[in-house]
């Protein structure tokens, strides 16, 4: 799998992402600068976490208009796969490549803690490493992770299978106390309509090695590698 990681000013999780991609794919991902206007030949583009452009205006709002985003949009339209984690997810919603928006956490606090995610479908390159209904642990670290969309849009997303992950209890049950940032319908990650673009707030890339405390996030990367084999 040939992967590229986009780095914006203020991005700070690109090295974590590179570790996860390298570990799964066995090859080095390319680092791409936000001012680039063309992408090399890639299977996957990743927008990693951080605070692009200082989160000024809204998280991800400036980065969504960076020169490289036209190329990323074209890449996805031509059949490429795009993953956004944390700030990367925010950027993809601001770029209107994913539906909805991410607001301030309902409790106002920046949350740096582990959460559990339930896999909502297992027939996509992003989730094929799990089975539907599987629950895995993922670290989260964000202030603006409260997923919102209109009720009609949420109904549509659920009806068309665009929900990728939900915050859940360890047993897979949904509950307010297992939805740390107050996201609508406990949505932690979504797909585009064609399921080539996926974004989520928590960080699977930070649990891909026993030395990190577990490998709970590794199926995401292993599944992607299998898809491009």
């Amino acid at each position: 799998m040939k992967a590229g990681i986009v780095v914006f000013p203020g991005t700070n999780r690109e090295r974590d992402m590179a570790i996860a991609l390298r570990r799964a794919a066995g090859t080095e991902p390319a680092m791409l600068w936000h001012r680039d206007t063309e992408l090399p030949a890639l299977d996957l583009v990743v927008l990693p976490g951080g605070f692009s452009h200082g989160d000024y205006l809204r998280s991800g709002a400036m980065a969504a208009h960076a020169p490289i985003m036209s190329a990323v949009r074209d890449f996805a339209a031509r059949g490429g796969y795009v993953l956004g984690v944390c700030n990367g997810f925010q950027i993809l919603t601001e770029a209107e490549m994913l539906p909805g928006a991410l607001l301030r956490n309902a409790g106002m606090r920046f949350l740096s803690q582990d959460c559990h995610l339930r896999v909502e479908r297992d027939d996509t390159p992003f989730t094929r490493g799990w089975r539907e209904g599987d629950v895995f642990r993922a670290p989260m670290a964000h202030g603006d992770g409260n997923y919102v969309a209109s009720e009609e849009e949420l109904d549509r997303l659920e009806g068309e299978g665009q929900v990728a992950f939900r915050y859940s209890r360890a047993d897979g049950g949904l509950a307010d106390d297992a939805n740390p940032n107050g996201s609508a319908r406990a949505i932690a990650g979504v797909f585009s309509a064609d399921r080539r673009v996926c974004g989520l707030m928590p960080h699977p890339e930070d649990l891909v090695d026993p030395l990190m405390g577990g490998e709970d996030g590794k199926p995401l990367f292993d599944g992607l590698v299998e898809s491009f084999r």
Binding site: L57, R58, A61, H65, T93, E94, P99, G100, A101, L103, R104, N105, A106, G107, M108, N146, V148, A149, G182
Partner: protein
Amino acid sequence: MTKVRVSVMLKDGVLDPPGKAIGHALQTLGFGNVGEVRAGRVIELELDEADAAKAKAQADEMARRLLANLVIESFTTEVLS
């Protein structure tokens, strides 16, 4: 030069945690009659455009493209001078 003020607010029905926190703080300060508080953002633009209507139209376009996220926010523009 025309100065235009763009006011961006969360849409009705969208939860506003900062507004809620401000309201709570005002209650704590003794302003017991404070009801719902909504917090928004004001952006003032100086545009190199003499025609007020054109300046307002440009600011509307800027708000739609960048200054507001229409999924969650609405905006108003007013020409100041």
